[in-house]
Every structure is written in C-alpha cells, then in structure tokens.
C-alpha cells in the first residue's frame, strides 16, 4: 500500500533571538503513490525542516500537509503520534538505534509501540532483517554492528509496520561511499518491493540521480530539478 503525499504553501519561520529566520516560504510538493522523490539543496536551506513537517514531527506556521487525503493539521499530539507510528517510517543520517536493544528488538519497537501481538512483531522483524542479510545479527547490539549494518537495521525498523510513507534524511550521509551505496541500493530495493511512497533528503548527487523525481529547495521554495541540471552535477549544496 502506498499513499499520495501533498504539501501546499508550507511556511516555517524560526526565531533566532530578536531575528526572525524564514526557512520555508510556501513549499508545494506532490508525491504520487509509490514514487521516490529526492529533495536536494544547500546546507541550511530547510530540507530537514521540510521533512519534519511532512513527517508530522512539527507543525507549519501556514500551509497544509495531506497524506492520502488526510490533513495533518487537525490531529492532536496523541493522534499525530499514532499516525506516525502506523503511517510513516523514518530513517535518519545517524541510525538512532537504541543501544540497549538488540538489532531484532530495535526493529520490533514500532510494533511494540503499536501494541501489536509480540509473536507477530517478532516474526515480521526477523523477516525484514533476513531480507537485508542480517539474519545472523539478530541478537547483536548496535555497538556490535558496523555503520552500514546499523543503517540497514534502521531501514528495517522504518519498514517494520509496512508504512505507506518512508521519509529518509541523509540516510547515507554518515557512511563511507561503499557502505553508503550498498545502503541506498537496499533502500531502493525495499522501497520498490514494498511499493512505498518515499521522500529522501540528500546532498549526494549520485544518489539523487537514481530517484524518480528531484526537487531542489532554495530560497525557501521547491523547484523541480530538470534532468540536464542533474547531469551537470548542480545538486551538491
């Protein structure tokens, strides 16, 4: 199952002491079901802020976000938490695995939070980790895994409840090129296999090129990136 992600007129301004810093100035974005969209832009352009708004982690000053026709604006804090749990999978630059939980337990966490039957959650987590080649690492703690393995566990965790929407913030930004490529290839494979709608924030032009659609965030608004621009290597912020 996948969903349509629709953002209209998103604005967000931060207060820096006396100074108001507008980050997003009316962002419009449409992501079709099953589509993978890359958002690129220079550092500080507001890519992560946009991802937080799309992921119901923050509320915009103005504008709307709709996921599969459901506006997020009217949801309470508790409803948003439940919505995130069931609908959105997150992958961050740093794996953000819980160091006191094994790889398997980390992948089980979304199901545990959702209150699903432990046996079903366990089976699903084991299956996902096997898909990414970590079936021999189930009982390893994050500290015992390599960077690439950790990020693969984080990807499994994001997909644990088969969320229709995957949001990834520089998922390979903390990895060496080889591991980064492997993790991204895996992300593409999993996204396609599970037919998940996905938005990926990245600095890496080679990664952005492999996405179906590239949007550049600059000056607080999104511009669709033409294919020849990508070929010219103008993605790097």
């Amino acid at each position: 199952m996948s969903v349509t992600l629709l953002a209209r007129g998103l604005t967000k301004t931060y207060q820096d002491g006396e100074r108001r810093v507008p980050v997003l100035k009316g962002v419009d974005l449409t992501v079709e079901p099953g589509q993978l969209v890359a958002v690129v832009g220079p550092s500080g352009s507001g890519k992560s802020t946009l991802l937080h708004l799309l992921g119901a982690l923050d509320r915009p000053d103005a504008g709307t976000v709709e996921i599969d026709g459901r506006p997020l604006a009217g949801l309470s804090g508790g409803q948003l938490a439940s919505f995130r749990n069931r609908t959105i999978g997150f992958v961050f630059q740093f794996h953000q695995l819980l160091p006191d939980f094994t790889a398997l337990e980390n992948v089980m966490l979304p199901g545990r939070i959702a209150g699903l039957p432990p046996r079903a959650v366990l089976d699903r987590a084991q299956g996902l980790l096997a898909e990414v080649g970590l079936d021999e690492r189930l009982d390893h703690f994050p500290g015992e895994l390599s960077g690439g393995e950790r990020q693969r566990v984080a990807l499994c965790r994001a997909l644990a409840l088969s969320p229709p929407l995957l949001l990834a913030d520089e998922p390979t930004g903390n990895l060496d090129p080889v591991s980064g490529d492997q993790v991204f290839a895996l992300l593409l494979e999993m996204q396609a296999r599970h037919h998940t709608t996905a938005v990926l924030v990245t600095h890496n032009p080679s990664i952005a090129e492999r996405c179906g659609l590239v949007q550049r965030l600059e000056g607080g608004v999104l511009h669709r990136e033409a294919p020849h621009d990508r070929a010219a290597g103008t993605l790097e912020g």
């Binding site: 995130r84 006191d100 979304p110 393995e149």
Partner: protein
C-alpha cells in the same frame, strides 16, 4: 544482498529471558534495559548508588527511630497503665454510701466487668517521726485494687509505695499516721483529722515518678479522714481493650433519678448516657466514666506527638534521597535524549515514556526501600533481642533501649518513601515525556 561488513556471528536464536523481556509492556522493557545500561555509565551508576543508599538510609532511620519510640512507649504504657484504673466511675459529689454501693452493684452486672470496687480518694499526708509527705489517699474495700501493682489482691490494710518505705526506712507492722486536710470542729476549734494504722506492706512504685504518690488504706478509715465526698468505682475488665468496651457500655446505661442521693446537689448531665432503660440499674445522675486512655490523655498525647514529630523530622532524609533520585533520573534522561526522541518519532506517547522513567525511578527506589527495610527491621530486632543499647537504669525506668517495630509504622514508612520516590520520579519523567523529538534527535 550481501552484507557490507561481515563479522563473526553469534547464535541468532534469542535467549528465553530476552523473549520474556520482549513480551513485557514497552515501558517495563525500557525501564529494565535502562537499569542495565546505567551500569555502563560511571557517573549515572554513582548517582543511582547515592539514591539507593540515601533511600535505604532514610528508611532505616525511620524504621529505627519509630521502633525506639514505640519500644519506649510500650514500656512506659506498661509501667504507667499498671498503676492506672482501667475504668474509673466518678460518682456525683454528695452521693450517699448506700447509693454508691448500689451503683457499684449495678456496675458489676455490666457485661465484661470482672471487678468493681468502691473507693474514696482525697489528699493527705503520711506523718512519721516529724516528717510529713503529701500523698493521695485511696480508700478501698475488699482486696487491694489492681492499680497498686505488687499488692493487688491482698487483704485490707495500709499500703505505701516501696520508694517511700526505702526513703524513710519503714518496716511492715510499724504504725504510721495519716493526716487529712479536712478539719474536725471541736470546742477548742478546728482540729486536723489523724488516724494511725499499722503498715501492712508496700506496692511497687515503679521507675517513673508519679505526680503524687498514692497510699492505699481501708475505705472506712478513708471515709473518716476525707468525709466520703469523692467516691469512685474502680472497674476492671479482662484487658485494656475490653475496658474500653466496658466504659462504652457504662456510658450507654441510662441515668437514674436522684431519689437515692443524700444531698441531691449534683447536677445531671455527666458522661453517663441517657439512653432508655433496658431493665438494668442506672448509674446515678452526674456520674462520669473515664477510661485509662482519658486518665492518661496528656501523656498519651505527648507520646503520640513525639512520634509524629520524629517521623516528620526523619522523613527529611527520605526527601533528600528523593532529590538524589531526581538528579539520577535527570542524568539518565539527558544521556538518552536521542533515544527518547526516536521513540517519540516512532509514535511512543508521552504517557508511555513517562511510565518508563517512573518505573525506572521505582526500581531504584524499590532497591533502596528493600535494603532499608531489611537493615532497619533486622537491626531493630537484633538491638532489642540482645539489648545492645544500654542506658543507666538508675536514671531511666529501663536499663536498655527497647525497639519495637509495629506493622502499621512499617507500612507508613514504606508508603511515605514510595510516594516521595514516585513523586520525584514523576517529576523527572515529565521531562522525558515532554521532550521535543526534533530537538532530542539533533546532534
């Protein structure tokens, strides 16, 4: 897909204990894992140990201090209540002897009463070889009443406190004079009333100082000295609790008319009840029923107040330990910010996060409470059993410090400590529950 990095693998089947942990509610799992993880952080471990030891010390101090007060209270109560009538019925002033005896017979028929003695009380002096000692004269009939320990049940006669005998070097059988402040009018003017009796024996004066030492003497002699104006009935029951029940029954008894009173001067409306008569003989109007509790009310109040104040003062130790628990949890929460942020991102509710850290605080506090209870209760039992804390017996009424752990006191200590610890944990846990996930995830 081949893994990017291949390491030596371990068996992938989770152990039964891990599976069990995975089946627990998420807040419980988080709390148990965080207990384990704090062991790897030296400073967090130090703060946890401080919190556990602090709470344990607080509980130990509370248990021991309440135990020592309870021990002294029980010893003091036994010492004093042995010389206090279980129930005393003050008959109205001016009541005639026949009416007083009828009232005594009525009291004897009340269920639960094991003995009722008519008495006359008043102030006087013991005089011997130019020395005079102010005493309370208690005229009794029949056997010596139970409020004179050491002499209770003996035949009529003159009984003085053992301490007075020791001070004055008195010998049983030797005549002793009793002087009354009530004068007798003679042609030569008012003359003091003086009666001389052979000393029958002594009663145990105990190791606490009485307000005024008492002297037991036959009622007939006391009536001639005191005039029979303050007549009382000392009532005995099987034990102190039974005495309270007897007193309640006496108060519920109807009051009678005043036709049997010689003077009829006393007003009605004493503590004796006014319920309708059920065929039982009434107490004379104006009679007042007092129990051992009411007779010792100031002392019992002082003992209770002392215990309450001690409890409040020592509770401050637990309060300080609870603050250490707040610091401990605050440090753990601070070090777990990204994890808490990730949990919130994945949809963990503030309530679940709050529960996890309250449970964590509860586990730390529970360890301290368990340790403190074992040390406190065990210490109290050993100190009391082997009398390890001696005190000068000549100065105090005991020669060792007694310890008595009462279940209610222990329950109060545990409830208070747990409540303080959980309140502290809740305060700290609230920080985790209200963390902004975006801020928490930021590195």
């Amino acid at each position: 897909m081949k893994p990017a990095v291949v390491r030596s693998s371990r068996p992938s089947d989770p152990s039964p204990s891990k599976l069990l942990l995975r089946d627990l509610p998420l807040p419980v799992t988080l709390a148990l894992r965080y207990v384990r993880s704090t062991r790897r952080d030296a400073f967090a471990t130090f703060l946890s140990v401080v919190a556990v030891v602090g709470i344990a010390l607080g509980v130990t101090a509370l248990v021991l201090s309440l135990a020592v007060i309870s021990g002294f209270q029980e010893a003091l109560r036994g010492e004093l209540l042995g010389r206090t009538p279980q129930v005393l019925v003050d008959l109205p002033p001016g009541l005639g002897l026949a009416a007083a005896q009828a009232a005594r017979e009525a009291v004897r028929r009340v269920p639960g009463v094991t003995g009722a003695q008519l008495q006359v009380r008043g102030s006087g002096w013991v005089v011997e070889q130019g020395k005079a000692h102010a005493v309370e004269l208690v005229g009794f009939e029949g056997r010596v009443p139970r409020s004179f320990p050491g002499a209770a049940g003996r035949p009529e006669g003159l009984y003085v406190p053992a301490s007075l005998v020791a001070r004055w070097g008195l010998v049983p059988g030797r005549p002793l004079s009793l002087l009354s402040p009530r004068p007798t009018l003679t042609p030569l003017g008012p003359q003091p009333r003086l009666r001389t009796l052979p000393l029958a024996s002594t009663y145990s004066s105990g190791r606490t100082q009485e307000d005024r030492e008492r002297v037991a003497l036959p009622r007939a002699v006391a009536e001639t000295l005191l005039g029979g104006s303050e007549r009382q009935i000392e009532v005995s029951a099987a034990d102190l609790d039974a005495a309270l029940a007897v007193a309640a029954r006496l108060r519920d008894r109807p009051t009678g008319g005043d036709g049997d009173r010689s003077s009829g001067a006393a007003a009605n409306g004493g503590l004796a009840g006014t319920a309708a008569s059920g065929g039982v003989a009434p107490l004379p109007p104006g009679s007042e029923v007092r129990t051992w509790k009411e007779l010792n009310r100031p002392l019992l109040f002082a003992l209770r107040l002392e215990k309450v104040m001690m409890f409040v003062a020592v509770s401050l130790i637990v309060l300080v330990a609870s603050l250490a628990l707040v610091a401990d949890l605050a440090l753990i929460i601070s070090s777990k910010r990204p994890e808490i942020g990730m949990l919130a991102t994945m949809g963990a509710t503030p309530a679940a996060l709050r529960q996890a850290f309250v449970l964590l605080g509860g586990l730390v506090a529970g360890s301290g409470i368990a340790l403190g209870t074992v040390i406190g209760v065990g210490g109290a039992l050993v100190l009391d059993r082997y009398r390890l804390v001696p005190v000068p017996g000549r100065v105090y009424f005991l020669d060792y410090v007694p310890f008595l752990v009462k279940p209610l006191d222990l329950a109060l200590v545990l409830v208070l400590t747990l409540a303080l610890a959980l309140a502290s944990a809740l305060y700290a846990a609230q920080r985790a529950a209200t963390l902004d996930p975006i801020e928490a995830l930021r590195r």
